[in-house]
């Protein structure tokens, strides 16, 4: 009996030791897995920032306080070219003239720069106004473009596509999306409009925050001080009208402003290979297509509707209103 008790105690002790060892091994494995994941995330972020420097960092030149009008106009042209090469959208001469004047005044301190909070309010007001004036045709076009790049030779597996928005996709059939967007358009003119405006503001705030946070970290020589990344709050330096326009474009298109023109083309070629491999069917070539904007090869968005001359000038009106105060 005593021997049995001894054996039982010994077996229990061995089981406890093995259990403890197992626990240690599990904890170490989990810790290593988290550490590896954190390394992978940090490495991914570093490469992401390199790509932003290669894109907006290399291809956009902003003017500095005291620069003559010619330099300021060249800065406006560099943003216009950058947006055009990526999305096919080009601003009129009159809009560029206006933007250059506004930029000059902001750089000279005659008008104040916008805080990120002010920029969010401006983008919300502009988006909300545009939402209320959408035609039925434009709503159909929005549905069509948000469902991604389209081409007659698109693989059959991509026939049923979801709506792609910043940070998420929405699985919703065309008729329901169109009906709901029409209903939302009507709501902008009712009491529900205030709630809708709040919802729009939150969505814009979230997207803008992600953009300015990445830009502040990746290209501090261009966006330094705009966002306090460590504190996750407004950095206090504010943005000029030209910076505001570029951030608005980025938020409207889900263009993260990565990659130079040459590297963006390489990226699209890589995407073609990747999509072909994944789908098991040939994916159409990116040749002749822009990466972003209407039927964008990487991300398609209704830029012709939400970033048209009239809407951009409405946004500039709002910027002028805020900058003067």
């Amino acid at each position: 009996m005593t021997q049995l008790l001894f054996l039982f105690r010994r077996a229990t002790a061995i089981a406890l030791v093995l259990g403890a060892l197992g626990l240690v091994v599990t904890v170490v494995s989990i810790w290593k897995s988290y550490a590896l994941q954190a390394d992978h995330q940090a490495d991914g972020k570093r490469r992401f920032h390199e790509r932003i420097r290669d894109g907006v960092g290399r291809e956009v030149q902003f003017a500095s306080p005291g620069d003559p009008p010619g330099i300021v106009r060249a800065a406006v042209n560099s943003v216009d070219n950058f947006i055009f090469k990526r999305s096919g959208i080009k601003f009129s001469g009159a809009t560029k003239d206006r933007l250059a004047e506004m930029e000059q005044r902001a750089l000279n301190g005659e008008t104040k720069r916008l805080t990120i909070s002010e920029l969010n309010h401006i983008l919300t007001a502009t988006a909300f106004e545009r939402l209320g004036t959408l035609t039925d045709e434009e709503i159909l076009h929005i549905d069509d473009t948000l469902r991604g790049f389209n081409s007659p030779d698109l693989p059959s597996k991509l026939r049923r596509r979801d709506i792609l928005l910043p940070g998420r996709v929405v699985a919703i059939p065309k008729d329901r999306f169109v009906d709901q967007l029409k209903a939302v358009r009507e709501q902008t003119r009712t009491d529900l409009g205030d709630v809708l405006r709040g919802d729009t503001h939150r969505a814009i705030e979230d997207t803008v925050q992600k953009r300015v946070s990445a830009l502040s970290e990746a290209v501090p020589e261009k966006f330094g001080g705009v966002w306090n990344v460590a504190g996750n709050r407004d950095g206090g330096s504010g943005v000029t009208p030209l910076q505001a326009l570029l951030i608005a474009y980025s938020a409207a298109t889900t263009d993260l402003l990565c990659d130079s023109e040459a590297n963006l083309n390489k990226y699209m070629m890589d995407m073609q290979k990747g999509r072909t491999r994944h789908l098991g069917e040939n994916f159409p070539s990116p040749e002749g297509h822009h990466a972003f904007g209407v039927n964008g090869y990487l991300v398609s968005s209704p830029l012709d509707v939400i970033f048209d001359e009239r809407t951009v000038n409405r946004m500039l009106d709002h910027i002028e209103g805020r900058s003067a105060s």
Partner: protein, 85 residues
């Protein structure tokens, strides 16, 4: 209270993430700037497929049928030659 009802009404109107019979599947552990593909089959047997670029560590697929098991959503990343070097 009125505000709450309005929010509920608005979410109903928008039908985004708040519809009966649908759910949001969250994909996590993503890497900034990396291009991913996703794919899943809905209750009617239709395959939903698409891609996106991660802007954070998570990405949501909203409006997914309740009957779909979120863990069955297939996700992978594209191997990009030029920026992996």
């Amino acid at each position: 209270m009125r505000k709450q009802v309005q929010v509920a009404l608005l979410l109903f109107v928008l039908g985004i993430g708040a519809c009966t019979g649908t759910q949001t599947c969250r994909i996590s552990g993503l890497t900034h700037g990396q291009a991913y593909w996703y794919s899943y089959v809905d209750a009617d047997g239709n395959t939903h497929s698409g891609d996106f670029t991660a802007e954070g560590s998570t990405f949501d697929i909203t409006g997914v049928d309740d009957s779909v098991d979120c863990s069955s959503v297939d996700v992978g990343y594209y191997l990009m030659a030029y920026n992996e070097a």
